[in-house]
């Protein structure tokens, strides 16, 4: 174990790795602070840049962006009452109150420092849980991988929101797109329409950039209201040591909730942040200050959403199941470099995993320094004119798409998926569900067919093996639980709704 960390440190502490992580964290902070660019979009935009990199360095840079964006998102939350990333939504409540009182520096400082602590703790949690879990996956054969893929698809039900039908349709569309290309078993082309462009399948990186980033830009152009701007200067007085020590309870709550929510499928930073906010209020000595500019009200959600940066990677690294947008982008980067997540990743290429562990720890320190340095320039970042930003991002996306395989096909693909993604956002479909279908389609189909080949066509093979059976039962629960919960809530709400009608 220790040798592996030494191996990881060797990679993570190389000058090039450090430089790329520094760039990643800086871009993450900027991206997070740019209204409309979330952490996952900031990551997706940089995917084409990772091509020539060593896979370990590529993942470290992306993790750096993820970490930086968590702080960047709180800058806009505090200064213009707009969460730059979904994870910063709870920070708006007290952050903006503090800004109005002229205590912006204290709010930003608490977000930065508690976020750094949360991020560092999360690396330890990640190591403590991912390494043993990856051992479990060593016992996996085709039936288990098939069951795992089914479980991954069942997750759609937990983040499809209120509309499960549209979530299912989104997932199916992703699975359908994933079938285009050369059939992995027989080598025959499928759905390539006689051309050669689709022979290698739909490039997932292009689909990801289109669905996540371009769709958001199009929605901003077509629908969104004017952006808020920061007026005048703001105080950059940082919190004092005494003030920080008082936040230990709120941070503890953030760590616990961030760990639990990060592990749960479909949880993600935003939910962890809100739950931590509520719990911190309950445990606080001054609950009355919450909502009126409480530093604890920033510490709890910001610790929690930074804890999620590590814990959200656990299901990804051990089993290859992405539980959030950002994890899905990380998975795309891994696929791009031919790195398959799972136990093989830990055994065959420990330098990648352990490099990432060490790198994430270093990236958190970088965030602390860069975050402090960005306090003053934050005004310029947040106040950038929207037309300039949107046009620049679109140009970056198009050139980046071209660079994927030096041909126009991916450029059209990015535009097409961008338009599709905008339509999906507008009409209540779920983009992450489609991405999940896209990345899991191969896993599910190949292992279904491989399992049935081994069992000579006997479908019971999935139910007679304990791990496979357990995963399928778990998948069933994951699928049904949100439906049951919704039905229960609906029944509870029904009398209220009918009572309101005169």
């Amino acid at each position: 174990m220790l040798e592996r960390f030494a191996l990881g440190a060797q990679i993570a502490l190389q000058p090039l790795s450090l430089l790329m992580m520094l760039f990643g964290v800086a871009w993450g902070i900027i991206g997070g602070a740019l209204p409309g660019i979330s952490g996952s979009i900031a990551m997706a935009l940089m995917l084409p840049l990772t091509f020539g990199m060593n896979p370990a360095v590529a993942l470290m840079m992306l993790a750096g962006i993820y970490i930086g964006a968590m702080y960047g998102g709180s800058i806009t939350a505090i200064l213009i009452r707009t969460p730059g990333t979904p994870g910063a939504a709870a920070t708006v409540i007290d952050g903006y109150e503090l800004h109005k009182k002229g205590l912006s520096g204290k709010a930003l400082g608490v977000s930065l420092i508690t976020g750094t602590v949360g991020g560092m703790v999360s690396v330890f949690i990640l190591v403590a849980l991912a390494v043993p879990l990856s051992k479990l996956a060593l016992a996996f054969g085709p039936p288990e991988y098939f069951a795992l893929g089914v479980f991954g698809l069942a997750l759609i039900s937990s983040f499809a929101g209120r509309d499960l039908l549209k979530g299912a349709i989104s997932g199916l569309l992703g699975l359908i797109v994933a079938t285009a290309g050369t059939d992995p078993f027989s080598g025959t082309p499928r759905f390539t329409f006689g051309g050669t462009d689709l022979l290698t399948g739909v490039e997932i990186v292009a689909g990801m950039i289109g669905l996540f980033a371009v769709s958001e830009m199009l929605q901003q152009i077509a629908e969104s209201e004017a952006w808020a701007v920061i007026k005048g200067k703001f105080s950059t007085d940082l919190p004092t040591w005494v003030e920080l020590v008082k936040l230990k309870m709120a941070m503890f709550v953030g760590i616990v909730m961030g760990t639990i929510e990060g592990l749960l499928p479909g949880g993600g930073g935003a939910i962890a942040a809100f739950i931590s906010y509520n719990e911190a209020k309950r445990w606080s000595k001054h609950p009355e200050e919450f909502g009126h500019g409480s530093l604890e009200g920033i510490a709890a959600p910001e610790t929690a959403n930074n804890v999620v940066t590590g814990t959200a990677l656990i299901p990804l690294l051990t089993f290859g199941i992405p539980g959030s947008n950002s994890a899905a982008v990380m998975l795309a980067a891994m696929m791009l470099h031919g790195v398959a997540p799972g136990p093989q990743l830990f055994e065959r290429t420990p330098q990648i995993v352990y490099g990432l562990f060490v790198g994430m720890f270093v990236a958190n320190i970088m965030m602390l320094v860069l975050g402090y340095l960005s306090l003053r320039p934050a005004i310029a970042i947040v106040n950038i004119k929207r037309p300039l930003l949107l046009a620049s991002i679109l140009a970056l996306v198009l050139v980046g798409a071209y660079s994927i395989s030096n041909r126009m096909f991916e450029v059209w693909l990015v535009l097409g998926t961008g338009l599709l993604g905008y339509g999906m956002r507008r009409f209540g479909f779920n983009i992450l569900a489609m991405v999940l279908g896209l990345v899991l389609g191969f896993l599910v189909e190949v292992n279904l067919r491989r399992s049935l080949m081994i069992s000579i066509g006997n479908p019971w093979v999935f139910f007679t093996r304990p791990i496979s059976l357990a995963l399928l039962i778990f998948a069933g629960f994951t699928l049904v639980w949100p439906i049951v919960r919704q039905a229960r809530e609906h029944r509870r709400m029904l009398p209220l709704q009918t009572a309101r009608v005169p």
């Binding site: 078993f185 050139v399 660079s403």
Partner: protein
């Protein structure tokens, strides 16, 4: 959302039918496994058709989400798409270094920013920055058009 859901449902149903029909164009080789390359796509096509039916039934039955959709600046969206498609088409003949600043300037102007200095600065600055990163640092062969000869 009701009418939109109905139209989307019909569109998805048509797509599922098309996808199912296209699965017959796949040549199944001799060495194929039991399920073959057509089984999984056909299951997906049937599942999508089922979901599309459910969506149609839901909107006809009036159980769709009745919340009206946010207003959309459709002409701005169409112009952005037109401009972007024109850029992609022009990229090969004109070359990156000519097409990109023109596209950026036009798009920034279209989106409502009119200061000449900012317009020119963005057009040239972003073009140069992307060129340095992609063509120089990452060695991507961006189309150069007449400038490349």
């Amino acid at each position: 959302m009701r009418r939109a859901d109905l139209l989307i449902g019909i569109g998805l149903l048509a797509f599922a039918a098309f996808y199912f029909q296209q699965s017959f164009a796949i040549t199944v080789g001799f060495a194929a496994d039991r399920l073959g390359p057509t089984f999984f796509p056909r299951v997906l096509a049937l599942a999508l058709a089922g979901c599309a039916f459910a969506l149609i039934a839901r909107s006809v039955g009036g159980r769709s989400d009745p919340t009206p959709l946010p207003t959309v600046r459709i002409s701005l969206l169409l112009w952005t798409m037109t401009l972007t498609i024109a850029y992609v088409v022009a990229l090969s003949p004109l070359g990156y270094l000519i097409a990109t600043p023109l596209y950026l300037a036009a798009l920034v102007w279209l989106l409502g920013y009119r200061s000449p200095a900012g317009l020119a600065g963005t057009a040239l600055g972003v073009t140069a920055a992307l060129y340095l990163v992609f063509a120089r640092a990452l060695k991507v062969l961006v189309p150069l058009g007449p400038l490349g000869r």
